[in-house]
């Protein structure tokens, strides 16, 4: 099917959004490509539809709404908090399904009560999906990058290793590879011959001399010292890398991280499971766990169906602007994600907002929801 028409439930969905105290926004279908590529990475290029303006500006068909909605918010300078809702077509090159399909969702910007805002967004997503699929049991998977960051931080790894692991969170294969490397560090090919020479000349112990040496060499070889990495950058990370190379994760800590990542429990049991893990491992996770517990409590207060939610410790998204909560909503027993969301506190600053704006939101895959309605054979 080349064109997916507006789903029959669009009006009912918009009415839901309105009752959830949101402001409906629309954004142009043709967007500058740069922000999407800069935020999501070069891989996105293959999955979006790109074109060029007459003046050579890279443009693309809107592949999603979060970035355009946030950019619009920054440009409009309307202040926070703001709750936006959208419904419209997005365009992506997909292996399955059409290349143009509808998405709808809510972006909640600027609410500083993180636990309440998280709970509300999960509750809203569950409610609007449930309203389209009455009588169907939903299952929600919830993850929290902040808890993983706390575990990695408490393991006493050098900052460089923490960054590597946090960066890979959500990409199970890559994370596993890093942990294996951390247990069995490579010894060959890690440092080039120049580093050995620097070491013999005593430059590695003297950062000022090292910086001066790098700067001189750059100038002598025609490299600008400020267009890319500066001599200070290089000297600083060389030091960090020597620390990294000398780090080996002991068996016990490796097992602990593995045990943590394997946690998969009903959300109602998660606070107890995490606190038991912290106690047993001796890792200090108090702050992250307090926030986690506050979110669970806020979900109860908001009246969300907590019984439908599972916490999976390894669940995350390997994008550097996600910071805490992530979640997905499916019909129980199926594997089609109908709604996905999370907290992206870093995104607005990355997009150019002057002040820090906490943000959390979700989007709905309307074509998959339509399919789920049809497969149930009923009319909603």
């Amino acid at each position: 099917m080349a064109l997916i028409n507006l789903p029959a439930f669009a009006d009912a969905l918009l009415a839901d959004f309105e009752s959830l105290d949101t402001l409906r926004v629309d954004t142009p279908v043709i967007q500058p490509a740069e922000p999407f590529l800069a935020m999501a990475g070069e891989d996105l290029r293959r999955r979006i539809f790109m074109t060029e303006s007459e003046t050579g500006e890279s443009l693309c068909l809107r592949p999603e709404f979060t970035i355009p909605v946030c950019l619009r918010h920054i440009e409009a300078v309307t202040g926070t908090p703001k709750r936006y809702a959208y419904l419209g077509e997005v365009f992506r090159q997909r292996r399955e399904g059409g290349n143009e399909f509808y998405q709808a969702g809510i972006e909640d910007l600027g609410d500083t009560d993180t636990a309440a805002a998280d709970a509300r967004v999960v509750g809203d997503a569950m409610r609007v999906v449930a309203n389209r699929l009455p009588g169907r049991a939903l299952s929600v998977t919830l993850g929290d990058q902040a808890v993983f960051e706390a575990v990695v931080g408490a393991c006493g790894l050098p900052a460089g290793w923490q960054k590597r692991l946090i960066h890979a969170f959500g990409d199970q294969k890559h994370l596993q590879k890093l942990l294996t490397e951390l247990a069995h560090p490579r010894t060959v090919g890690v440092f080039g011959p120049e580093v050995v020479r620097l070491s013999m000349d005593g430059l590695l112990e003297d950062e000022d001399r090292l910086v001066a040496h790098v700067a001189e060499t750059m100038e002598a070889t025609g490299y600008s010292t400020n267009a890319s990495r500066s001599p200070q950058d290089i000297a600083r990370r060389l030091k960090e890398k020597m620390e990294l190379a000398n780090t080996r994760l002991d068996r016990k800590t490796l097992d602990l991280v593995g045990e943590f990542l394997a946690l998969d429990v009903p959300l109602a049991d998660a606070p107890a499971a995490l606190s038991a893990f912290a106690k047993k491992s001796g890792l200090k996770l108090d702050e992250a766990l307090a926030r986690f517990d506050a979110r669970v409590a806020a979900l109860s207060t908001a009246g969300a169906d907590i019984g439908a939610i599972r916490y999976r410790a390894a669940f995350g998204r390997p994008l550097d602007y996600y910071t805490g909560l992530v979640f997905e909503v499916e019909v129980a027993g199926t594997h089609a994600v109908l709604a996905g969301g999370g907290r992206f506190d870093r995104l607005l600053t990355l997009l150019g907002a002057r002040e820090h704006i906490p943000a959390v939101g979700f989007s709905l895959w309307l074509d998959r929801i339509e399919k789920a309605i049809t497969s149930q054979g009923g009319v909603q």
Partner: protein, 231 residues
């Protein structure tokens, strides 16, 4: 059935390819004058030769407009998504060697592996207000090596169609992905190859477009056997 073999239209690649076919008993003669872009194989009526540029050969293999082509593996893997499903690499011909590599400034003393580069890329935006920029004409190979094999997502590709090695010194990119045969151009530009930065060891190959009509075709089998026989 008549089959079409595309050969490079100029330079050493043309001479080396013609030499292999001649050794394989398929002497190639130009149709018309020496500069003609059509040729034939002496003594066989069922093979046509088309002289094309190396990158056109990879494209036409993907379109299935030719049956065989002699071209660099790098161009085929860069030019075609799912290359192995669409073409078959029948023989590696032993000339046109070039490695597609990730190279960074020599002065980056702290970067010798892809893992190092991942660290630098992850921090780049916070430190420099932009993503790490890679100059290359190999978009596809770069993406599959960086994100597919090494989990590195945060970089930008700056398209470079020539003199790629000069991009880091001139400041138009931070690092490069490019081909090198001897490494001397990299050295002259003060660049070094990462220890796990060889993306592809490429050389000229006899490549077949996968077509159903080739199954059981004696001419197709004969060409492959003849070329393999002289390597």
């Amino acid at each position: 059935m008549t089959i079409t073999i595309a050969l490079p239209s100029k330079g050493r690649m043309k001479d080396d390819a013609s030499a292999i076919f001649e050794r394989a008993g398929m002497k190639i003669v130009a149709v018309g004058n020496d500069r003609s872009y059509r040729g034939r194989v002496e003594g066989s009526d069922d093979v046509e030769i088309a002289f094309l540029s190396a990158s056109e050969i990879s494209r036409e293999l993907g379109n299935g407009l030719i049956d065989f082509g002699v071209t660099g593996e790098d161009l085929v893997r860069e030019g075609l998504a799912n290359a192995d499903a669409r073409v078959e690499f029948c023989a590696r011909l032993g000339f046109g060697h070039a490695d597609v590599v990730v190279a960074v400034p020599e002065i980056w003393y702290d970067v010798d592996t892809m893992a190092d580069l991942g660290d630098v890329a992850a921090d780049f935006r916070a430190r420099h207000g932009r993503r790490l920029a890679i100059a290359t004409k190999y978009w596809r190979l770069t993406q599959s090596h960086f994100s597919g094999s090494h989990g590195i997502q945060l970089y930008r590709i700056v398209e470079s169609l020539g003199a790629t090695e000069g991009a880091p010194a001139s400041g138009s990119a931070d690092i490069i992905v490019d081909i090198t045969s001897t490494g001397s151009t990299l050295k002259a530009n003060h660049l070094k190859i990462l220890t796990d930065g060889v993306i592809l060891r490429s050389e000229a190959c006899l490549v077949r477009a996968r077509k159903a009509a080739h199954d059981g075709d004696p001419v197709v089998a004969r060409v492959i056997a003849a070329v393999r026989g002289v390597l």
